[in-house]
């Protein structure tokens, strides 16, 4: 059977239509997938921007926070923090009264709570306090000093009464991590 010009034209048009439909369908899926990949890429880049910082800033941060461990659950974190702080007090030679755990007061960051430890030492030397403060940043669980009070004995000025409250973060979510 010989096809007429009209038939050939119709067949060509049909073939082109089929190709266009297939390309359109595949193209749509491809575009969707590409869009997701682009979003994922952008999210990742945003995360990298969060992590990325200049060398100067990184050094500044490391000077303030030379050691850091990711917070774990409250019980374990409290134990680890107390142990480490006790060690630092011992190293500084400060004889303190038993540490008092003050339950969390506020949640500075979603998924985390704050745990405070209060320490009182009725008699210690000023140099010991300075030693403690100098080494305190090396505590990887320490977040900050919430309260600090120093009273100097006017009769014997080398002796001081120290009250210090330090804080740590505890993880309230099930996921835990250490570094």
């Amino acid at each position: 059977m010989k096809l007429s010009e009209k038939d050939i034209r119709a067949l060509k048009l049909a073939a082109v239509s089929v190709v266009v439909i297939v390309v359109f369908l595949v193209g749509l899926r491809w575009k969707e997938h590409w869009g997701q990949a682009r979003i994922e890429s952008q999210v990742l880049k945003a995360k990298l921007n969060d992590i990325d910082m200049s060398e100067t800033k990184r050094k500044g941060l490391m000077a303030i926070v030379p050691a850091f461990k990711m917070p774990v659950e409250e019980e374990e974190q409290g134990f680890l923090f107390r142990n480490e702080f006790n060690e630092q007090l011992k190293k500084a030679g400060i004889k303190n009264e038993p540490l008092v755990t003050i339950p969390n007061k506020r949640a500075p960051l979603t998924g985390y709570k704050s745990l405070h430890l209060s320490c009182k030492a009725s008699k210690c030397r000023f140099s010991q306090v300075l030693d403690l403060l100098a080494k305190l940043n090396e505590n990887p669980y320490l977040v900050g000093i919430e309260q600090f009070s120093l009273k100097i004995d006017p009769k014997k000025r080398s002796e001081v009464e120290l009250n210090i409250t330090v804080s740590t973060f505890t993880n309230t979510t099930s996921r835990t991590g250490r570094s």
Binding site: W30, A37, R38, D50, P108, N137, G144, I145, K151, S167
Partner: protein, 549 residues
Amino acid sequence: MNDMNDSDTNVGTRQSVVAIVREDDVLKGVELRKRDGATEILWAKSTENIDVDWQSFASECGLAVKSAADEGSDSDRTVVIGFGSAGTVFHRASVPPVEKQEIEPIVRLQAETRLPLSSDQTELAWRADPAQNGQIGVTMVVARKELLQEFVRDVRPLDPTRIILDCEGIIKAWRTVFCEYEEEAVIVSMSARSTQVCLARDGRLSNAVILDLGLEDLSVESPTEQAETTERIALDVGIDSVSSEAHAGQTEIAERFVRDMRSVMDLFGYEDPGRVPVLVLSDDSATYVSIVSSLRSADLNARVVLPNVRTLASQGESGGQWIYDYRAAIGLGLMALEGGAGELNIFKNVYSRFETKKKKHWIYSPKVACAIAVVMLLTLAIVSYAIDLKSPKAIKQRVEAPTVAAKTDLDTLVQRQKLMRMVARERPDILALLKLINDCGEKGVLLNGVTFNKDQKVSINGQVQSDVQLYKYQESLNKQKDVTDVKITNIGRASSSSGGRSSGGPPGRPSDGPPGGPPSGGARGKGGITFTITFHYKNFTKKTARAQI
């Protein structure tokens, strides 16, 4: 279609020449060939209908008409086309006897000064005569480029070997076919509505002019016919003056023609027009005799020149009238048969027979360029897609690789970074604070206690010897960049045994005022003065600032 010899056009056509020329909207074509040293006309055709175009006429003549896409030539006949001189302007110029390559710029310069159009709008062809009296005469012919390009578009399907000015063909026909030859002559070739006046020197075209008067304007009937016509009109109309009026009109046109011819002779540079012969190409009809007699009466050395029928052999019809009708085409055909160059080739830059056969590099093809562009676009899309798809994974792998042992992923790293920054904001440097408090106090300032509470002002208490010392201490604290809002909140007289006792009253001068001048009270007794100073340390003690952070 006038077919003067339509028989056997396909026999013996090897190495023949077909010449076609348009004359007064009529296309005329002949096929010539050389055999045994003699030139033979195979056929001659012309169109009756003025609407016939070049391609149709070529088809009628049995020529292969090519489309633009056709390549190569399978024709065994050479085709030459005549270009009407009506679209051209001739000039004569003289240049000093210089080398041939130096003549070109001189001629171009002269042409540019004479023409109203710029050089990029025109085409110029020139031919130098032999040097004479220390000067070289140059024949220049100029035409609008657009006109030539249009003509080439029309005739390109005929695949012509050459396109030659038809006046060159006239001169060639005069030299070869017509009886008389003169070294220097003005050749008059008349067609129905125009007259071509060519100056020939040494058998070559030297100048040419087209007059808008032709045979139709100047034709005269035979004396018998004229008498019969006059008598008939006189009987019908009854007016004796018809004959005289017609005669007067004819005379006027003839006079105008003579005037034009004299102007042309002036243009050709002849002060004495009688010196040079004016040869009127003729088919031996009475009109030419009349024209020549008019010219002669105006002191022009004019005479009729008839074709020599024996110079050309013909397979079909022959005769003076027949040769005369096809003189331009025959002249062009003879030029092509001789194959000599040296004609005024005004189509040199406009037409090349092999122009369409030049193969362009495939990269210049629009289709290839489009295909490459599409492929590149697709490649760009695929590469971008691949990058977007793979780069996050690669980054994750790279970031997580050193911390695999610690089972840390990127999210944990981000969280850790955030926490560290927060810790840095939450961690006051108490050691630096103590150092600052100590450095600001001069000798004699005794500190009894320091209290730091987040979101509250730092409080220090101690003992000084005098108010001056206290205010200096306050001032010194105030100058510290990390310290703000320094206030003396309490001043008291110190007991000899204790660190201080609160007086309960207001301080002797405003606590936040600028220190200066001696205190009103001076030293407050032997035990000194106890004081309490409060101030903000960075943002740690400012509740609102911390809340904003």
